[in-house]
Structure formats: structure tokens, C-alpha cells
Amino acid sequence: MSVPNRGHKHGFRLFASACAFAVLILSFACIHGNSGNGSSSVSLQGAGATFPNPLYQKWLSEYGKLHANVKIDYQSIGSGGGIKQLKEQTVDFGASDAPMKDEDLKSAPGEILHVPTVLGAVVITYNLSGINQPLRFSPDVIADIFLGKIKKWNDPRITADNPGVTLPANDIAVVHRAESSGTSAVFTDYLSKVSPEWKEKVGSGVSPSWPVGIGGKGNEGVTGQVKNTPNTIGYVELAYAVQNKLPVANIKNASGSFVQPSVDSVTAAASASAANTPEDLRVSITNAPGADVYPISSYTYILVYKNQKDAAKGKALVDFLWWGIHDGEVFAKGLEYAPLPADIVKRAEAKISSVTAGGAALRQ
């Protein structure tokens, strides 16, 4: 008895076409994989804080015009995300508002340098109808609002700071950040300094456990909530409040004067803290002393490894950072960020110059 052989031809055709298909797919993969290694172009990946994102995007576009062979990409995913990606070495540089904590630095695979880039202000913004001039807040009032102890807009402690303004008897709706945020870290750092109860109950960090309030996603989310919902109060980065035409409160600083957040009052905060700034440039400048100082100011940092693995990428990175702290600062004021004071620029230069690749300094 002979077995019918009809299956053979079909089986062979199927097998042959499957092989051809596989070869096609593999060749696509090979070509695509090789396209990243251009001969002279360098591509850098960065990720981190949303706080300075508008400025960094401006920097990337201006720097790209000057150096077409360097492609830099920045993802604004939040300070915590930037630190995490840097530690896992999936990005070339990270960005964070709050400096990294000691435990984070110890657990990183290499030494990480903090390079300050600009200064920004975290402002208190609110949505109240019929109020024409900026409201004034004392630090303990802000802490108690965010603790939920002050519940109504016409609370005597708020009206005491704002004589002549009629505040409504409505409930205060607090808005905070839903996700981990460097802006939250700066704000809670300030609140921990001005309110012992806040420090004990909540503490400071990127993801505090807020006693009251609604969570908005990103600076954009908080801005949106405050803008669309009446009787809200929230904290955002200065640029977001200005661009969305939201009112910004004046806050009483450590020296007792009510100061409006602005580029100059933020720079004053940095200058006042310059003497206390340690060697690694990790410093908190909230609640700094001085008559013109805006109390909720902060540096924002770019984080890089001191020892770069790839010399070409490392050179491109240090050149970009050098440009940023010198030429990049001219774009800061237009976007409501404060440029670095001159002595901090010198110290940042020293940090950038200490970055090495294979033992040799990348910037002579």
C-alpha cells in the first residue's frame, strides 16, 4: 500500500515561504538597528522634572540650531522618574528640582553630579471671583490651609492679612499634585520649615500624603483645576500661572515682608543662600532671609554621571551644559525663570569641568 504524497508539495511551499518571511523580518531588524550609529551625529536622551520643561525645550531648539549634529531629547516625566531613569542608565542625563537624597546617591551605579541650571518659583494661585489685587498669605496660614485647618475663605486669619478685601464665605477647595513631583517636594520643603505641625504630620518629599485636597496631574493639571473650579487654591510653577493668566499670591517671607514672586525676588533668594551652598551644590533655598526674597524658590538641577561611559556623548553633554549655564540663561527671564547668580555659575562651571570619560576631563 502506498501512502498518498499530496501533502508533500504543499508542506514544502509553506515551509519555504515561512523561511523567506523570517529572513525578510530579520533583515528589516538589522537595517533598523544599524541606522542609529551615524558617523558624526550624537544623540542624547534626558528625562526628569516638569518644572523647567518649558525652558529646556527652548534650550534644545536653540542649541539644535547651533549644533545640527547633536540631537538632544528631553522627556518631562517628573523629577522622580528622571532620577530613576538615570540610576537605571536608560537616559544620559536626568533633571530634578529637589536635589537627590543621600540614600539615592549611594545606591546609584556611579557618582552623580548636580549641575544647577535655573531658578524657579512655586507660586500660590487661586480662583476667586471679584478679587482684583493679589491676595497676601502668611506662611502659617498657607500651612494650615493645606493641612485642612483653615476651611473657609473668609477665615479671620486670611482676612487679617488682606485688609480691605471682602472674601466670600465659601469653602476652600485645595488642589495639589496627584503624582510624584519636584514642585511638591519644593513646596513641602518650605511648609516643613514654616510649620512644625506640617513637618511632623506630613513631611517633605516628592509624594507627600496630603491631608486634604484634590489631585491634579502635572503642573498643567493643577492649573486646569484651579482655572475651571471656583474657590480653589493650588501651587504651581510661576510660568504656568503667568501663561494661564491666573492670579498669584504675595507671600510673607522670613524677614516679614510680603513679596511678589518674580525673577528678581527668586534671584535674591539664591544670592542670600549662596554662602550656605555646600560644595556639591545641593541646597534648599526656601524661606531664605532677606527683605526682597521670595520664600518658595528653588534651584533646578541637571544630573549627570561624573564618569561618562561614552566619550563622544559625554563631550556633547558637557558642551550643552556649558552653553546652557552661559548662553542659555538669556532665555530664562522671558519664560519666568531666574538666571543663576554669577558665583553659582562659576561653581557650576567647576562641576561641569570635572566630568570625565575614561579618566580624561571632557572639558579643558
Partner: protein, 332 residues
């Protein structure tokens, strides 16, 4: 000589053909290979689900060891102090899903009954198509619509009257911002309606016409006839509702934009809340610290198990009904 060669050939051939015939009744090699490949593909799907379960359990081991079952009962969610508890998220997830179902089920049943029993074809086809189109709108678009349209609408026109009339109930106390558990529930209701109505339509169509004719022949009114059909399709309808529940439990972007993102348990529907899916979406990319990450993965594990079980029950129920009556169950 030829006899010996025939014997050898027969041995090998008979083994080969027995094996092949086991795989494919027609004895065709192509069929057999096809069957093996398809079986491997199905096995791959099962393997992926099991692998997910293993991966989730492995990553949440740190948190499970640290908190044990207390994780399910604790209300604290404090990343700074390292204390994590899942209860507010479980509460938010379940309550928003329940609100969604309470609102959506009457509407979905009504739509399905109308389209199957009452509407003429030139109405039922476009309307049915439009309802199913609702399911195609991306979740994040629902979220944006929720913030800019639904939340102000609720804040200005719905929640104040509710607070005035029913404010004595703890469900409707508290300040009115338009962002909260109620808004989250309503958005979920809108997202879940097309799913439930599509499956219920299939279930009702699968009920044999003889049931309808028998009811009408016995003198039933139209509504009584529809009731007979509903009772007949009840397991399938239950399955559809559970399918909708499964979707509502896992919905992320739309909910996170309107629910307020506060891990708290409050009796009032106006207060903000937090679901498991929103928590993971908001905090996962930036969670630093192994315990924090592990706690979030454990939340994901809880959601995975709950959704898995819920969907499993739904599938079994729907399959049960449509198998009996010979209808085809549509994969939703």
C-alpha cells in the same frame, strides 16, 4: 527481495501515518502542521497570562512580606513614611464601578430592548452603530470631556439640587467641586453602556423566536412578551453586566482625570477618591524606593485577580446562554 523492502517501508510508513492521522483526521500533513501551530498560539496566550501572574507576584513579594494581609485593610498611603494600604483604592474602584453600573444598566437594557424588540431596521442599525461607536472613543478623550464639560455641568446644575434635596443623606454631604466619586462613576457609566448593550443585544437575539411567539399566542402584551424574553436571557444579561463591571474596574485615564486622586474613604459621593488603576498610572513612573514600587505592583496584582475572576464568570455565563440556543456570542 521486493517483499522485504515492502515490509521495511510499511513499518516506517505505518508509524508515520498513524501519528499523522492522530493529528489530522484527513491524514493531510498541512492540516497537521496547522493544527500544531494554532495549538501553540493558544498555548502562548495562556502562558502569557500565567507569566503575568508570576511576574506580578514576584514583584510584589517585598510588599506582601512587609504588610501581609494588613495591606488590604490599611487606609494609610504615605510614600514618605513608607506606609502603604490598599483599602482606599479598593473602595474607590468598587464604588465607582457600582455607581457606573447602577446608572448604566437601566440605560443599556433599555437600549438593547428597544433595538431588538421595537425598532424597525432602518432605526436599529444606525442607532446600534452609534452606541457601539461610543466604545471606540479613547479613554483620555473621555477624561478631557469630563474635566471641561461634565465636571462644570455637575457642579453647577446637578450637585447643588442633589445637595439641597438629599443633603441629609451622608452620600451627598460635603463641598461641591464637580470633581469626585460621582463624576468618576458617571463617566464610567457612559463608557460601559456600549459594552453592556452590545452583549445584551446579542443575548436577546439569541433567544429563540418560538418563545416570543408562544408568549404572544397566549395573549401576552408586548411588554409581557419582552419580560418573557428577558427572563429567558437572564444569565446572559447577568454576564453582560459583569463584563461591563470588568471594564469599569480597570478603566484608567478617564477616571483619573475626574475622580480627584485622593486616597481617602468618605461616605460622600461629592468627595474626591482614588482607584487602583489611577494610582498606578499616576505614581508608577516616578516611584522611587523598592517598597513603594512593590506596593504599587501589589495593587496591580489585586486588580488583576479581581478583573480576571469577574471576566471569567461573565464569559461562562454568556457562553452558557448562547450555546444552548445556538446563537453566536460576540467577543466584546
Amino acid at each position: 527481495m521486493s517483499v522485504v523492502r515492502q515490509d521495511d517501508k510499511l513499518d516506517f510508513v505505518s508509524q508515520y501515518s498513524t501519528w499523522r492521522r492522530a493529528l489530522s483526521p484527513t491524514g493531510n500533513t498541512g492540516d497537521a502542521i496547522f493544527r500544531i501551530v494554532m495549538f501553540l498560539a493558544a498555548l502562548l496566550m495562556v502562558a502569557i497570562v500565567i507569566a503575568k501572574l508570576i511576574a506580578l507576584s514576584a514583584d510584589s513579594m517585598l510588599s506582601i512580606r512587609q504588610f501581609g494581609f494588613g495591606f488590604l485593610a490599611s487606609q494609610r498611603w504615605d510614600p514618605i513614611k513608607g506606609e502603604f494600604g490598599a483599602l482606599p483604592f479598593i473602595y474607590g474602584t468598587i464604588v465607582s464601578a457600582v455607581i457606573a453600573l447602577l446608572i448604566s444598566v437601566p440605560f443599556s437594557l433599555g437600549i438593547a430592548i428597544f433595538l431588538v424588540e421595537q425598532a424597525p431596521q432602518y432605526v436599529s442599525r444606525p442607532v446600534g452603530f452609534l452606541v457601539e461607536l461610543l466604545a471606540a472613543i479613547p479613554s483620555v478623550v473621555y477624561g478631557l470631556w469630563g474635566i471641561f464639560v461634565l465636571a462644570p455641568f455637575l457642579r453647577n446644575y446637578i450637585e447643588p439640587p442633589l445637595a439641597k434635596v438629599l443633603g441629609w443623606l451622608p452620600l451627598f454631604k460635603g463641598s461641591i467641586t464637580g470633581i469626585g466619586l460621582l463624576t468618576g462613576g458617571i463617566i464610567l457609566a457612559i463608557m460601559v453602556t456600549p459594552i453592556i448593550s452590545a452583549v445584551v443585544r446579542d443575548v436577546l437575539t439569541a433567544v429563540p423566536g418560538s418563545q416570543r411567539e408562544a408568549a404572544l399566542a397566549l395573549g401576552a402584551t408586548k411588554w409581557e412578551m419582552i419580560r418573557v424574553v428577558l427572563v429567558n436571557g437572564a444569565p446572559g444579561i447577568a454576564g453582560a453586566i459583569i463584563l461591563g463591571l470588568g471594564r469599569a474596574l480597570g478603566e484608567t485615564m478617564a477616571v483619573t482625570m475626574v475622580i480627584g486622586n485622593r486616597p481617602q474613604i468618605s461616605a460622600s459621593l461629592f468627595e474626591p477618591s482614588y482607584t487602583i488603576a489611577s494610582a498606578i498610572a499616576n505614581e508608577f513612573t516616578e516611584a522611587t524606593g523598592d517598597l513603594y514600587l512593590s506596593a504599587l505592583v501589589e495593587l496591580g496584582l489585586i486588580l488583576f485577580l479581581v478583573t480576571f475572576i469577574v471576566n471569567g464568570i461573565a464569559r461562562m455565563l454568556v457562553w452558557n446562554v448562547t450555546r444552548k440556543t445556538g446563537g453566536v456570542s460576540r467577543a466584546a
